[in-house]
Subunit: 398 residues, 3 copies
C-alpha cells in the first residue's frame, strides 16, 4: 500500500487498536497521538529527560550526549510553518549529536513534478533515520507511520515517524513537554537532600500536598475549544487518579470545552468544572486559590472563520488575563504554564508577571528540548546507553 487514500481507511479505527501498531514490545515505533503517552512511558521519558538535562550542564556529560545519536540523521519535515517547535526539535537533535535536515517549503520541487506525497516520505526514509513532521494535512503523520509499518513487514527500510503537531489534530510532543514540566514541578526536587525539606516546608502551609501529578487541580484558561495542546494535555492527565480540572473560557461555542472531551474526561474519573472568569469562585472560595497548576493559552486568531472572528473580537477578554493581583491568589508553588507564543496584543500573560517565581513558561519551553531529546533516545532504543553514560560521567550524590 503506497497511496495516501489507501491508508485513510485505517484512520477511523479506535485509538487502542491503532496504538498497538505504533509500538513494539512496549517501546514506541512512532509517536502519533498523545494517547500513546501512558504513565509508565511518561515516567521513563521524564527520567531520561532529567538525565539529559543534568548531563548537558557537565562538560563530559554533554560530550557523551553528542555521541549518543551521532550516527543518526533526522529529517524535519515542517511544511506547516512553526518556528518554536521546529527550533526545539533542532536543539534536541543537536544535543544528541543527530544531524538535521529540513524541508519547510510546502511546494518542494518534487511536488511540481507530480511526485506523490508517499513517495516523498519514502525518499526521505531512504536518506534519513527519523522523520519529524508537521503538515497541514490532518493525519498525514499517521498515514506515514502505516507506510513505514508496511515497509517493515516487507523487510524493507523503515524509520520512526514523529508527529510534531499536524493540522488541528493533537500535538503529542507538546503534551510530553507539558507533562515533563508538571512532573518536575510536583517532584518538589525530592532527590536532593537539601530540597527534600521544600516539600516539608510547603506542607506547613498546604498540609495535604503530595508529590506527583495525581490528586491535583489543573486550570486551563483561554481557548479551550480549539487549543490542541489543552486537548492533548487534559487527555494525558486524565490517566492520573483524583484529578480535578477547571476550564476557564469565554462563553462562545468555538472557545468552550467541547462535549466530546468533557465526556471523555468524566468517564476517566476527572472532576470537571467550567467557569467564565478567573475571578470565579468554587465551593465559596476563589478559584485561583485552589489551583495547583495554571495552564494559560492564547485565543487563536489564525484559524477563525470570518463570523467567529467578529464574534470573538467583541468578547471582553479581561476576565481571562493574568494580573499581579490574580497571581497573588495562587498557591506559592503553583506553576504558571503557557504553550506559547503568547499574544502581545491581548496580553493573557503581561510581561510584568515574567519575574514572578511561579512564571514557568520559559522553563517549560526549555523543557521541550529535554523531553524531545528523551523521545528520540527512546525511539532509537538508546535509553540504556544513556543511563550507562549518565552513571559514567555524573558525580554520585550523597
Amino acid at each position: 500500500m503506497q497511496e495516501f487514500a489507501e491508508f485513510e481507511s485505517l484512520l477511523e479505527r479506535p485509538l487502542d487498536q491503532k496504538n498497538v501498531e505504533f509500538q513494539r514490545q512496549g517501546r514506541l515505533k512512532h509517536l502519533i497521538s498523545a494517547s500513546q503517552l501512558t504513565i509508565p512511558l511518561l515516567e521513563k521519558l521524564c527520567h531520561s529527560a532529567d538525565m539529559i538535562r543534568k548531563m548537558n550542564r557537565n562538560p563530559s556529560g554533554n560530550q557523551r550526549l553528542r555521541q549518543l545519536l551521532a550516527h543518526k540523521r533526522a529529517m524535519l519535515y515542517f511544511t506547516q510553518p512553526s518556528t518554536r517547535t521546529f527550533l526545539s526539535f533542532m536543539a534536541a537533535c543537536q544535543i544528541l549529536g543527530l544531524t538535521c535536515n529540513e524541508v519547510r517549503d510546502p511546494k518542494t520541487s518534487s511536488e511540481v513534478k507530480r511526485e506523490s506525497r508517499m513517495d516523498s516520505i519514502r525518499m526521505f526514509s531512504s536518506y534519513f533515520d527519523v522523520i519529524i513532521m508537521r503538515s497541514q494535512i490532518g493525519n498525514f503523520a499517521e498515514c506515514c507511520a502505516y507506510l513505514m509499518n508496511d515497509l517493515e513487514n516487507q523487510e524493507r527500510r523503515s524509520v520512526p515517524i514523529v508527529n510534531a503537531g499536524a493540522g488541528s489534530d493533537e500535538h503529542p510532543t507538546q503534551a510530553l513537554l507539558d507533562m515533563y514540566t508538571i512532573i518536575r514541578t510536583f517532584d518538589f526536587d525530592q532527590s536532593s537532600a537539601e530540597r527534600a525539606s521544600r516539600l516539608d516546608q510547603l506542607r506547613e502551609q498546604y498540609p495535604g500536598l503530595t508529590p506527583g501529578p495525581a490528586g491535583k487541580t489543573y486550570a486551563f484558561v483561554g481557548d479551550i475549544g480549539r487549543g490542541r495542546t489543552v486537548r492533548s494535555l487534559a487527555t494525558v492527565l486524565a490517566q492520573y487518579p483524583d484529578v480535578r480540572m477547571f476550564f476557564v473560557s469565554p462563553d462562545h461555542e468555538v472557545l468552550n470545552l467541547d462535549a466530546e472531551l468533557k465526556d471523555y474526561l468524566k468517564r476517566s474519573g476527572v472532576m470537571v468544572e467550567e467557569f467564565q472568569s478567573l475571578d470565579a469562585e468554587f465551593n465559596g472560595q476563589s478559584l485561583l486559590g485552589q489551583v495547583d497548576c495554571l495552564y494559560m493559552t492564547r485565543i487563536q486568531r489564525e484559524h477563525n472563520s470570518e463570523q467567529a472572528e467578529s464574534e470573538i473580537a467583541a468578547i471582553d477578554l479581561e476576565p481571562f488575563r493574568l494580573t499581579v493581583e490574580r497571581v497573588a491568589q495562587l498557591k506559592t508553588y503553583t506553576p504558571i504554564l503557557h504553550p506559547f507564543p503568547r499574544d502581545s496584543v491581548v496580553g493573557e500573560i503581561p510581561t510584568e508577571i515574567d519575574s514572578d517565581s511561579r512564571a514557568m513558561y520559559f522553563r517549560q519551553a526549555r523543557n521541550g528540548m529535554w523531553a524531545r531529546a528523551a523521545l528520540l533516545v527512546h525511539l532509537f532504543d538508546a535509553a540504556d546507553t544513556l543511563y550507562l553514560a549518565y552513571r559514567d560521567v555524573m558525580p554520585a550524590r550523597g
Copy 2:
C-alpha cells in the same frame, strides 16, 4: 579571468580537451561532465562507495566515517530547486562529517547589490572547501571550474566544483549513482561465499550470464529526448564492450532519441534499437524478456513549450507504463530503475510494483548517498584514509 563571458570561449572545446583540465594526475579536481566517469574511475568510486556503505552499518565504522572529512565544509549552491539531489548530497556530506551550508534562493542579497556571479562563487570558495552546484545557468559549474583553475595557477585558494545537474545539461552524479547501482546488481554479490552461488543459480536459467555491466541489454523507457539522466547514463555505459540499448519512447520529436546521441552511441560500438511500446518484439521475441536492466523515466512536463505540451498531452502513455504483467516478462534478476521522482498521475511505475523484488528504485536513491560520499572522498584525496579505516574497523571475511 574573472568574468563569466570570458570563460564562455572555453566551453566550445571538445570534451577530451576540457576533461584534462578537470583532473590532476589521474584524480578528478572537479566533476563537471559524465564523460569524466571512465571505467577505472567508476571502479575506484564504486569500491569506495561499497566500503562507506558497509562501514556505515557498523558503530565504529560510522564513527570513523564521520571523522574522515570533519575538517571540511561544503557549500551546496542550489539555485535551481531540487529536493532529492540536494538531500542526497546533504546526507552524503553528513556521513563523512562534512559540515554543510546552503544557498538556495536565486535572489541572494549580493545579486541585488550587483555582485558578479563569479565574485559570489569566489566568496564561497573563501569560506568553504567544496562547492556543489545546481544552477539554471547552463555551463555555470564548468565556468566555475575554470575560475578555480585560474586561481590555482595564481597560487591562490581554489576548491573543487561538483556539477549537481545544471540546466538541461548532463547530471554526472546521477550517472554515477546509476552506475553504482548497476555495478552492484551485476556483481551478483560474488564477494560473499554464500552468494557466489547466486550467479551459479541464475546461470542455470540464464546460461550466458556474466558479471559486470559489459555484454548486457539496457532498456530506457519514457522521455528519451530530454532526460539528461538517460543521456548521461547511456554515454557512460557506452564505454563497456558488447552493450545493447533499447530506447522505448512515444514517437514525438522531443521525446525520441536524438540523432546526435544515437550517432555517438553507434560510433562507440553500442547496438541501438528503438521502439514505441513496452510490448514490442525484437528478433521475434518479447522486448522485455531480453532486457538485463530496465531504466524507466518520467515524461517531463516542466520543460515543455506550450505546443509540445498539448501534443504530448494527446499521446497515449499506456504503452510506456509498467504493469504487473509486463514486469512478469522480465528476467528474474533484471533491476527496475528510475531516477525519480516518478509521476503519480501518469503512473509510469504504479505503486503495486514497489513490492516486487526487482523494484530497485528506492535502493537506487539510497545508493546516491554512498556514491556521492565516495565522490567527495575522491575529490579530497581521502580514498587511502578510507581504506585504512575500513581495514581497521571491519571484521575480516573468510
Copy 3:
C-alpha cells in the same frame, strides 16, 4: 522590562555609559557597537584569530578547534537578508564546532500569532547559547542585550548577543575583520625569522615604515557618507596615534564625509583630508603614493531615495575607480581592501586588479571567519582553552 518600547529609553545614553553594561570584568558580554573594540581587546582577538587560523591548517589543530565550542548552539537571526555575513558567521561557528540554527524569514509564524519580538528573542535564548543578529530594526540588537542583562540580574538564563550589522547602524564585526586584516598586514610577519627581513627590505625603500596600525595613512574611497563599514572602521582606527585619513568621494551630500564623524575624528587627533578624485594631489605629491592602506567601497544603490538616485546616477564615477595605472602608484606593501560585494557594473575594482599582490579583498573576506571565530571564543571565555590547545598541537618555532 520586556517590551521593546521600554528599552528604547536606554538607547539615547552616551556610548561610554552603555558600553560598560555590555562587558563584565574587562570581557565582552555582548558585541553591539564598534566602539567596544578597544586596542587591548583588538590585540587579544587578533591573537586568538591568528591561533585559530594556524590551527585550522593542521589536522590535529582543526580537530581541537572543532571541540572547543562543540557544546554550544548558535542562533543566526538574520531577518535582514545577507549572504556574505551570514555565511562567514556559519563558517566561524563550524570551525569551532558550534551547531548552527537560523531564522531568516522576517515573517516567522510566531509574529503571525502576535508574539512580541522580545518573546521571540527570549525563546531563542531558551534553546541556544548565543544570538547573532542582523535585523532591519535599528538598535534591535542593543535592546536584546538589555533584555539579556535584565534576565541575568534576575538570575535567569541569559546569552550573549552579537550585532551582525543592524539597519544602517554600525557593523562591528566588519570593523573587527578589517582591523584583523590591517593588523596582520602591518605586522609584516615579524614572528617568522625569515620574514623579519621583509620589514627591513621594505625600509630600504620606505625608511620611516613602522609595524602596526599607528602612524599610517588610510584612504577611504567611494560611499563615505552611508558606508557603515567606513564609519565603524574609521572610529576604531582613530584610537591609534599619528593616524591620517584621506576620504575620497564624489561631492554629493549623501556620499561625503558627514560633519559628525569628521568632528569626532578630529577631536580624536586624526588628521583628516577630503578629496574628489583618486588622482588628486596632497602636499604636491600624488595622493595614492602616500597611502599605506586603501579601503575601497561600493556606491550603495539600495538605500537611495529617488531624488538622490537620479543625482548620483548623473555623477561620473571614473575618478573613484581603480585602474592598473592607479594601483601602480601605490606603495608596494599597501593593501587594497573592500568590504564586498563590489559593484560589477560600476567596477570600482575591475577584476584585472585581482591578480595584483596588493589585492587583499578576498583574503580580507576569509579573515572574517577567523576574526568572528575569535569573537565567539572570547564571548564564551574560551581564550585560555584555545591557547592551551594551540600550545599542544602546534610545533614550536625556532
